[in-house]
């Protein structure tokens, strides 16, 4: 623990000042502040450097996602889901597609399920690398940031080779994915995995023995387990406080039940524990991808179900049923039409449980799509998390929260 100022200077005027009635100071942190990435505003009440009150204001990135998709067809909503968590868009795509497939009671082919797992984990690695890199940078460790952005660049290159885009990928469709993995995917992944491991090792050597980093992270921003549960927090943030909850284990989807991985947890619940959980999750994600690549079967990547998939072009030109099917899927007012009903589908996003509550009215458009954004309860908890901390500590705390404006404000 750093030495208290008054221990060092016993006659420090600080003590005397406490006798006076000092006016608290109010400041706005954000919405455009370099450490408030994702555009939020934190109104703070300060006593000297200590935070005694905080009011978090969000909504700067509200884009009417939920209202908009009520007026789009089921597949047209997928590009909008990219923009929810723009750091790991693949997981959003997968979650939404799974929810609609559940409504339709469709099981996608096994190869497609494996591809979705591989791509989700690749996204998760990118998400964690960004989160750790950015919060290290805010503490002055620019080298760590550059290494991790380099490593993330490799994952994005791989994603680009598969999907054709880097960020707004729209890779899934209801009933499948758009493209198969390229032929050299495994070879490329081996190389990228080595690069990522090398980068992570270098960054860990730089950060974990660094006095400044440790002092700023350890014991700062502690969230106790009971508060984590009261807020309903999930993901790496909650696991760092000892909540052993991961949707991939608790309610397995796709082929996660066959995957051999552990859910890293910690008990301290401070910034450093969250950093460590994220680092360990990168290793686990790499492990899942390696196993999935070993087990992935050959086969189709899209469901053959005529309710969601277009028939092959050759069939469309040669027989009437396929032609009708083609038009039924493409004409306005027809298309994909799940039966009346509702589904709540949860997947493990980069920040925790990402839920899609989808209601169908039996038409070609969703009646209601609600997103349960993983960082929403965590960001709500920031008001409590920063109380009693120093103003400067808000930066590493907020970095470890990994707030993503796109999914928070929708």
């Amino acid at each position: 623990m750093p030495m208290e100022l008054k221990d060092k200077f016993p006659d420090s005027p600080r003590d005397e000042a406490e006798e006076f009635d000092i006016e608290p100071m109010y400041i706005n942190m954000g919405p455009s502040h370099p450490a408030m990435h994702g555009t939020v505003k934190l109104v703070l009440k300060l006593d000297g450097e200590r935070v005694v009150g905080a009011d978090m204001q969000i909504g700067y990135l509200h884009r009417c996602f939920e209202k908009t998709v009520e007026h789009k067809t089921w597949n047209q909503a997928i590009p909008y889901t990219d923009r929810l968590n723009y750091v790991s868009p693949l997981i959003n795509n997968v979650g939404y597609a799974l929810a609609v497939e559940n409504l339709l009671a469709i099981e996608v082919p096994e190869r497609c399920q494996y591809i979705r797992v591989i791509m989700s984990e690749l996204s998760r690695i990118g998400d964690h690398l960004t989160c750790i890199g950015a919060s290290a940078m805010e503490l002055g460790a620019l080298t760590a940031f550059l290494y991790f952005i380099k490593a993330r660049e490799y994952t994005w290159q791989l994603i680009e080779e598969v999907t054709g885009a880097r960020l707004t990928i729209s890779y899934t469709r209801v009933g499948g994915v758009v493209r198969d993995l390229p032929a050299n995917f495994e070879e490329r992944f081996d190389w990228i995995e080595r690069q990522i491991l090398e980068n992570v090792d270098e960054v860990r050597a730089l950060l974990e023995k660094n006095r400044i980093f440790i002092d700023r992270m350890k014991g700062v921003g502690v969230m106790k387990l009971d508060r984590v549960m009261s807020y309903g927090m999930t993901g790496p943030f909650a696991r760092a406080s000892g909540l052993n909850y991961d949707v991939r284990k608790a309610a397995p989807y796709l082929v996660y039940d066959r995957m051999d991985f552990i859910v890293p947890t910690a008990t301290e619940g401070d910034n450093f524990a969250r950093y460590q959980v994220r680092i360990q999750e990168i290793f686990q994600s790499l492990r899942i991808i390696r196993q999935a690549l070993k087990e992935i079967p050959e086969g189709p990547i899209r469901s053959k179900d005529p309710r969601v998939s277009l028939p092959p072009k050759k069939e469309v030109y040669s027989n009437i049923e396929a032609l009708m099917n083609h038009f039924k899927l493409l004409m306005p007012g027809h298309g994909i039409r799940p039966a009346k009903g509702e589904v709540y589908q949860a997947v493990e996003g980069g920040n925790g449980e990402l839920g899609f509550w989808v209601i169908s009215d039996g038409t070609d458009r969703p009646y209601r799509v609600r997103v349960r954004p993983p960082c929403f309860p965590i960001t709500a908890g920031v008001e409590e998390l920063v109380l009693g901390e120093n103003l400067a500590d808000i930066v590493p705390i907020f970095g470890s929260v990994n707030m993503i404006g796109g999914e928070l404000d929708r």
Binding site: D55, G59, T68, S230, G232, G341, P377, A380
Partner: protein
């Protein structure tokens, strides 16, 4: 679980292979309390809370507004999906923010989007939209292309806004 809920349970729905318990709005607080405190249920986490408006649904409901709750029990790895249906006029339900800290923001969002009032909520203020916004946009009677009135430019130092200042000065956590 059905026994634990008692007379508060007014109906059941089958949605996507899961059972949805429909609760009476008046019995919500006591039912959630039971689910949380009963050691054999231990639903200690509120995972999600969201609204919906069924007023144009082809399968009309008597009470068109709905709030859905997802509870999770870390101890038993159980999930519960609960719903409360509310009328359009006087859409009011008890707030859970004294039981679950996370309900605070979810309920603010729900008020913002659907105009559902949560009784006993400590800070019922719009969350995603701005205070001068007219209407509740996710309701089905709100047209997607509706324009909002222009509002005067605000002072950038909005910590002077009365509500925020009062909240910070009251010193208590919600």
């Amino acid at each position: 679980m059905r026994q634990a809920l008692g007379p508060g349970l007014t109906g059941r729905e089958e949605q996507g292979g899961r059972e949805v318990m429909v609760l009476a709005a008046s019995a919500l607080l006591s039912c959630i309390g039971v689910l949380r405190e009963d050691p054999e249920l231990a639903f200690e986490m509120l995972i999600d809370l969201g609204g919906a408006d069924y007023s144009t649904y082809s399968d009309p409901k008597e009470l068109p507004l709905c709030v859905s709750y997802h509870l999770y029990s870390p101890k038993y790895n159980h999930r519960a999906w609960l719903k409360v249906y509310l009328p359009v006029e006087q859409a009011e339900v008890d707030s859970l923010s004294h039981i679950f800290a996370g309900a605070n923001w979810y309920e603010r969002e729900c008020w913002d989007m659907y105009g559902i009032v949560f009784r006993g909520h400590p800070y019922m203020k719009r969350l995603l939209l701005y205070d001068e916004f007219v209407g509740h946009p996710l309701r089905k009677d709100y047209p997607i292309l509706k324009m909002q009135p222009l509002i005067p430019m605000r002072n950038a130092v909005d910590y002077e806004a009365v509500a925020v200042r009062n909240r910070l000065d009251s010193g208590e956590k919600d």
